[in-house]
């Protein structure tokens, strides 16, 4: 069997790393675990990771994915880096608002806005 295919697209641009999801549904716990392991490996390889995670293709998101984002945010902060989220549609944004995670994660309308916000 071939090695499992990556479920993310990674682009390095203007001093930051941009991550996009391949899947529309970020629901399954096994899938979420492998995506976060992959992103964690990218974070650990950077001295001060500046990362934008784009939700442009995402239509469904589970609470397990929210938990993974919190862990990734903490890992990035532990390396003095910065995490930004972008392109979140209104339905998905509501999930962040209900859980109040919009108060601890920095969310921007576009990748460009997110990139400009790095300090």
């Amino acid at each position: 069997m071939p090695a499992s295919e990556s479920r993310i697209r990674v682009k390095r641009t203007d001093g930051h790393i941009q991550i996009e999801f391949v899947d529309r549904n970020i629901l399954d716990e096994g899938n979420i675990r492998s995506i976060s392991d992959e992103i964690a490996a990218i974070i650990e390889a950077e001295p001060k990771p500046r990362m934008v995670i784009s939700f442009a293709n995402v239509e469904h998101l589970s609470s397990a994915a929210l938990g993974a984002l919190i862990t990734l945010n903490n890992r990035i902060r532990a390396r003095s880096g910065q995490l930004r989220l972008s392109n979140i549609n209104p339905q998905i944004y509501e999930v962040f608002a209900i859980t109040r995670l919009n108060t601890i994660l920095q969310i921007h309308p576009t990748n460009e806005d997110a990139a400009k916000s790095f300090v």
Partner: protein, 144 residues
């Protein structure tokens, strides 16, 4: 074409802890909502709630049970509402013991948001006394 007023779409689905089986159960419920032309926001709300309910059943309810222990998903959809009953075979739990994940001190916790989302998106969601059966209802929003 939408199902006529008064019709129901009902099913009982046995779901094992496998991504494909979980997705099939979600797709079956989404298909029922589509039959009655529920709006996109309703489909989002019900699918997410069902996913969280099944996930809680497997992750917490079946924590001490064999990996292949199935849960049961029973639904009854009409053009007015959908009722979904998710039953696991675990010993049950006390939902009031779950800390409020929206409190400042709990915001960075990695889990414990499933029931919050279910209660936010569904019209009602109640566990039985034992705590292994979740009965959820979603009522079609007025004017949709």
């Amino acid at each position: 074409m939408a199902a006529p007023h008064g019709q129901h779409d009902r099913a009982v689905i046995t779901v094992v802890n496998d991504a494909a089986a979980i997705e099939r159960a979600e797709d079956r419920v989404v298909e029922a909502l589509a039959r009655f032309n529920y709006p996109r926001a309703s489909v989002f709300a019900v699918r997410l709630s069902l996913h969280e309910a099944m996930s809680n059943g497997f992750r917490h309810g079946h924590r001490s049970l064999p990996e292949d222990t199935p849960i049961s998903v029973k639904f009854d959809a009409s053009d007015e509402h959908i009722e979904i009953v998710v039953e696991d075979q675990g010993p049950g739990f006390d939902p009031s013991a779950i800390p409020d994940p929206t409190l400042e001190e709990n915001l960075e916790r990695g889990s414990g948001r499933g029931l919050l989302l279910i209660r936010a998106y569904m019209t009602s969601a109640e566990y039985n006394q034992k705590g292994n059966v979740l009965r959820m209802t979603y009522r079609r929003p007025a004017g949709t």
